[in-house]
Symmetry: C2
Subunit: 198 residues, 2 copies
Amino acid sequence: MSDSRVSSVIQEWVSSYPGQGHGQTLNPVSSNQAASTNQMNQMDMISYSHSQGLMRGGDDRVAEQMMGLSYLPYTTSCLTNTSSPSSTNHHQSSTQQDFSPFLLPTLRAPVTKRSISKDSAEYRLRRERNNIAVRKSRDKARRRILLTQQRALQLQEENQKLQMRIGQLTQELDTLKHILSQRHMQGAEEGAAGESSI
Amino acid sequence: MSDSRVSSVIQEWVSSYPGQGHGQTLNPVSSNQAASTNQMNQMDMISYSHSQGLMRGGDDRVAEQMMGLSYLPYTTSCLTNTSSPSSTNHHQSSTQQDFSPFLLPTLRAPVTKRSISKDSAEYRLRRERNNIAVRKSRDKARRRILLTQQRALQLQEENQKLQMRIGQLTQELDTLKHILSQRHMQGAEEGAAGESSI
DNA sequence: CTTTATTGCGCAATGG
DNA sequence: ACCATTGCGCAATAAA
């Protein structure tokens, strides 16, 4: 019973890793932007020192993103927050410069990417779809992780069984070898005896 | 080389699961909370059906960061958004009565949990600390997942090797058994011959 | 009680 | 255009 289940689990596990998927992209370097919709107006903008030595972007508040590298400008987002006045543009401090004019068009920042109001039905529709996709993706990830753990445990058990089997076989082999050596010596003695007696 | 690495990896992997930590809590069933309160008026409240057939908890729960989702009730915790008109004091609505005098201190409900303004330095401090904790926790989770995957792969390899070893031992055993049976028959013949010749 | 650790969620950027 | 992934911050809650 356990064997059959093991197989199925491994089966699932294997299917969970089609092509290893992505490359993880350690540093997306996204932009950020003031997400502030509706209310939520002003707010802090507090310094956010990021206590630890982590020099993360830590822009707190809404926009987040920017992943580990907050120091990247970009200011993407072309969302026109019709109602929200508090569009705080996170840090973007003095060190920030506008290199867009020096970048090739293909590398240029979003520029006029077509503003989308957060109030628009389209925006909400997109957001909702993405939220659904996110839930789906995370469920998938959770299942995959679970399968991997189960797989590891099952492989561990299987390993123990195999080790035991190897132990048995080795012992049996030693026994037979011993017997054979005995027979060999015995046969030699008998052979010698036989020859001498002839 | 691989063996030593396997050991170390498994070592790490094991340490990644101290006490299994949490219980995973598949269905937190958070306070969901009274959708009844507050406005929550118009707006979508889109089905969220979770297209897939996944009957997730879908608590939608807390109004997210109030962000663009105003359609969510709850209106977050008891944070006093000084300027934000939507600072609805989540549950604790009219039906709320003060049972505190009747409850044991240890069992008391949230009650006046002490309002904290989002503008307050304390709020930002707490948020920042939590954000750091979250990053830390997620890094940890990522590492654990990675270790589990590596462990699974290594166990798989080890399994193959063990299977091969078993195959070798089995074959060797068969060979010896065969030889022994030959010797046995030979010995029987010799024995019979010897006895008859005496 | 406070503080940290986990977890689910939505957002936004990005990969495919 | 679409969905899939992923890092992030928020808030609730579990665990110290």
